[in-house]
């Protein structure tokens, strides 16, 4: 609910998925509701709204954040990437492709958040161990897969990316 009753608005400029935006957002508005309701980016999901489940994860200046508890007003000057921004050119990233081939997506509700946190991990740690992957996933809950396919997809994508970079 952008701009709840009694809230004054504040003007912000930010970049979302490589596009510049200037918006007036409510004082208590979250980044998640701004993305979903003002920019129609429905990739980030709304589930717990308490920062616990990770379904709303997006990258802010390259680092994962729970957008459901982040004040939209405090994203002024920041760069945000949502799952929609990953395949910007139309082609899936190596990580997304690996999710498809490992059947790491079942109901898909957690997927946009999981993809974002793993995208940040592969940027940070190009050759992660299984423990690194599992640690990175600590804040994203998946009710379907049991995580195994997700972990394998991430490790596989890392190897694909390393091979692509060295060939």
């Amino acid at each position: 609910m952008p701009g709840a009753a009694g809230e004054q608005s504040v003007s912000i400029r930010l970049i979302v998925n490589e596009r510049r935006h200037q918006l007036d957002v409510g004082a208590g508005e979250t980044l998640l509701s701004m993305l979903r309701e003002r920019l129609s980016l429905l990739g980030p999901k709304e589930a717990c709204c308490e920062g616990e489940c990770g379904a709303c994860t997006v990258l802010m200046d390259g680092a994962p954040v729970a957008s459901c508890i982040l004040a939209a007003g405090s994203t002024n000057g920041r760069t945000v990437l949502t799952v929609e921004g990953l395949a910007g050119t139309g082609e899936l990233t190596a990580l997304q492709q690996a999710f498809v081939s490992h059947a790491a997506v079942q109901c898909g509700y957690c997927t946009p958040g999981v993809l974002m946190v793993l995208t940040a991990l592969l940027e940070d740690t190009p050759d992660p161990s299984e423990a690194d992957v599992r640690r990175a996933l600590a804040g994203t809950i998946c009710r379907c897969t049991g995580y195994q396919q997700i972990v394998e997809a991430a490790l596989d994508a890392a190897q694909l990316m390393i091979r692509a970079a060295t060939s």
Binding site: G6, E7, Q8, S9, V10, A27, G28, T30, C49, E50, G51, E52, G54, T57, M60, A63, P64, V65, A66, I69, L70, A71, G73, S74, N76, G77, V117, A120, R135, A136, A138, G139, T140
Partner: protein, 288 residues
Amino acid sequence: MRFCRVRSVAEAVDELSRWGTEGRILAGGTDVMPQYLRGEQPPAALIDISGIDGLQGVSEVGGVTSIGTLVTLRRLATASLVAMRHPALAQAATAVGAWQTQTVATLGGNICSAAATADTLPALLVADAQLMLVSKSGRRRIGLEEFLEGPGATALRPTELLRAIEAEPLGERSAEGYVKVGRRSAMDLAVVGLALRLSVTPTGVVNNARIAVCGGTRPPHRVPSAEAAVVGTQLVDGRLDCTDAGAELASAAAPERAREAEYRRRVLPRLLSRLAERCVAGISGVGS
């Protein structure tokens, strides 16, 4: 509710004095926003300090580590200066929530929220942290232990801003660590958190020990009786006997009526032994 974005410490303290108890500082917002979203009484103004560059940065000058209030837990978990000079703080920051939490949660916010379960506080207490506060009427400095008045209650005045945290880096022949026990291994609050900092003489006698705990019903605090039980102890075959200190920790936890008090009493001595073993292994240059 208004959203006041401030660009400097001067602007921040102006807004604080204007709004008084009606204003609320917003740093990373990982405590402030969930409270607001849950429908708790909103402040008249959120004062967003997240864009103040002067409140960032970690440095070591003249034997003192200075950490800006806005330094995030992720930064503390990954900065090499922190890993070397304040390993307990790095370990505590890693233990908070998940990566998504650590990206935005600030050290100053963890201190000012003053939760009984705040992971960074035991690590800061064993580094004898001092808080640098600023308001329109001047500056003051206060020790962390004195600042923490109760779970969720601090000595911060409504018009004051926490600017920086000063802490004592690890010295020679010293080591420290933080261990946390929760109901699961990540994304849970501490049932018990324990920080230990130890220094030994060249001949292997403990000449300084600081022990602090979190997770009970009291705000995080040091346990002087347990510290006293360790000081003067000689390392034997590279090991430190912590039996007495462990008993002191357990009895200091005894008056607590928390649901987990019995569990805490049992687990604290073992955590201390494990942590002491890790610390002693990390101290080099000690004869036996």
